[in-house]
Amino acid sequence: MAEFSLKADAFLGGFHKDYGTVVVTEVTDRAIASFALPLGGEAQAEKTIKSVLKLDLPSVGTAAQSEDGATTLLRLGKDQLFCLMDKQPDGHGAHRALSEKLAGTVFTTDQSDVWVSLTIRGPDSLRALERICPIDLHPGSFEVGALARTVMEHLGTVIIRNSDDEYTLMSASSSAKSFLHAIETSIENVL
């Protein structure tokens, strides 16, 4: 029988574009796992996550990063988190290793192939995003480390503020090109 060796492509081919005051880059090196905290088992789940990932659960609407930067927890809702990790060569290794350690206390799902991620950085990134993001992104109400699950151009999006002028956006990989088009259009409109 023929042996196939398949290699996954990035959803946007590793997109990178420098607009001068805004730079858009596709993130291709992160694996994503979703966590659901079981009803009634929240305290035990929190304890296990802390011992496995060495991270306290962030409060709803914020992100927490491990000291070495390898793991980021996004608290999307009261009982719902995303865990961002370094991608393993086979694409699913990161989730498999984690799900074994968390088995029985946290429900996990591999979401690595579900989301396309983009970072947008530069002094004009806020101007470009505020036109299509219904969340108030002013630093006073959306601080560094804040995140929101919302909609941009009718597409479900998670937005995270990494620093004063850098954001990560996550949207469904199945509509990755439409999402990128919306972001690019907004950038071109303000520059």
């Binding site: 709803v60 609407g61 009261k78 219904p134 969340i135 919302t150 479900g156």
Partner: protein, 95 residues
């Protein structure tokens, strides 16, 4: 219209889906002897108030939580927003 989510702050109503009267939380017991009548009332009979109304909204494009929103049906003014799970637990439900 802006719904002030108790955990996430002010969010545009476009992120939410409307279900209906808050009383839908109180699903009848299917084993009750008069279950058929009570499900008929539960499924079909509603008040249609002009004024304050408690209703269920689902935050589909957000954290997927159910909310009980108190809204004035004449002015659309929203005076109170709670998590539906808190409302259900206050009524003695376990979830």
């Amino acid at each position: 219209m802006i719904i002030n989510h108790p955990l996430l702050g002010p969010r545009d109503a476009a992120e939410f889906v409307y279900l209906g009267d808050e009383s839908l939380i109180e699903r009848p017991d299917p084993n009750a002897p008069d279950a058929a009548d009570r499900f008929y009332e539960y499924g079909y009979l509603r008040d249609n108030p002009a004024g304050e109304h408690k209703e269920l909204w689902y935050h589909e494009q957000g954290d997927r939580s159910w909310l009980v929103v108190t809204r004035n049906t004449i002015t659309h003014q929203i005076t109170h927003v709670e998590l539906a799970r808190d409302v259900a637990r206050a009524k003695g439900r376990d979830r």
